[in-house]
Symmetry: C2
Subunit: 165 residues, 2 copies
DNA sequence: TCATTCATGTAAGTGGTTACATGATTCA
DNA sequence: TGAATCATGTAACCACTTACATGAATGA
């Protein structure tokens, strides 16, 4: 596929847990080509090119996937805001939670639409079970976010004075 | 507090959703001092200094907390590995899920220990309800991770052939 | 006395985004 | 004909980590 198509595939298929920018994709594709891990072919239009994975590239991909996942530094701005909720005030915090709940509910609908689409897919049969477990992970965490938000909104309403000390 | 103490506080109190390195903390403290948002005082030992938030600094902090949270690029290596599970193989994937479950279970115990500690806390009363909702969020997502892992392990066992296509 | 913790800071490097510049192709 | 999409790439910049260098204080 082309660099452009790589980006579209990452956005559309891995969008829930991965992202890459053009500024990352094009130089990486060149570097992989220099290492002999992808091959560059002429594309359908002038100046465009299509890349394909070489056997070397595929085996490197597998060995990278086998390596333990290096943890990225945590930075959750939403939780940070709630931790300093006293400084932000209970009303602003409550609103943040309302928003988070709405986002989660919308997200859950998206997951379910994607699940339906993947389930009805007749190609990529060998990938389906794996894709479905990643979707399931998304559904679980999103449902947990909704349940937490409801519980938290309840607290804001029933124990409002605690948040005003 | 000192830069060193700032780091310890971030590690111990915000560790579940935030992290900062010394290479970030010391230059930032100097920059904040130059902006008049923190004040530098002599510490107890030679060469050490203690910083305190000025009124300007506190109001900037609040205005930063009020700003919408700029989303960080998603990069979840665990989900990536499962998405490419077909390339990694069902056994390696299953092991990843077993590990994830174990980590989550351990994490849940940590949350519950911290909850007990915060609940018995007699200082910082005004922060307590906010801190508890962040802990609750951690508990919810961690329990969801455990439930997802159990469900997924079940799938690996009951529908093993689907993962071998 | 010696390991650990407290303490400060810098330099090199990495990994990444954003914005920009450019232009062909498709299709309404 | 003009908007949207396909397509490639670079340059400037930013946030951040890691490793390094240094040393005082504490306490077993």
């Amino acid at each position: 596929m082309s660099g452009y198509a790589v980006r579209a595939a990452i956005r559309d298929q891995l969008g829930f847990f991965w992202s890459e920018s053009f500024g990352q994709i094009y130089p990486t594709l060149s570097a992989l080509q220099a290492r002999g891990e992808v091959e560059k072919h002429d594309g359908s239009r002038p100046g465009s090119s299509l890349y394909s994975l070489t056997p070397t590239g595929r085996s490197r991909m597998v060995s990278l996937l086998e390596q333990p996942d290096s943890p990225t530094p945590r930075r959750d701005g939403f939780m940070l805001r709630l931790f300093f909720g006293r400084s932000l005030g209970p009303d602003a915090c409550r609103e943040l939670v309302v928003h988070a709940r709405a986002n989660a509910a919308q997200q859950l609908a998206v997951y379910q639409a994607i699940r339906a689409q993947v389930e009805s897919e007749t190609d990529y049969l060998e990938h389906k079970p794996y894709w479905l477990i990643t979707i399931s992970a998304g559904e679980h965490t999103t449902r947990a976010a909704i349940a937490w938000a409801d519980e938290t909104l309840e607290k804001f309403d029933s124990a409002r004075t605690d948040f005003l000390l």
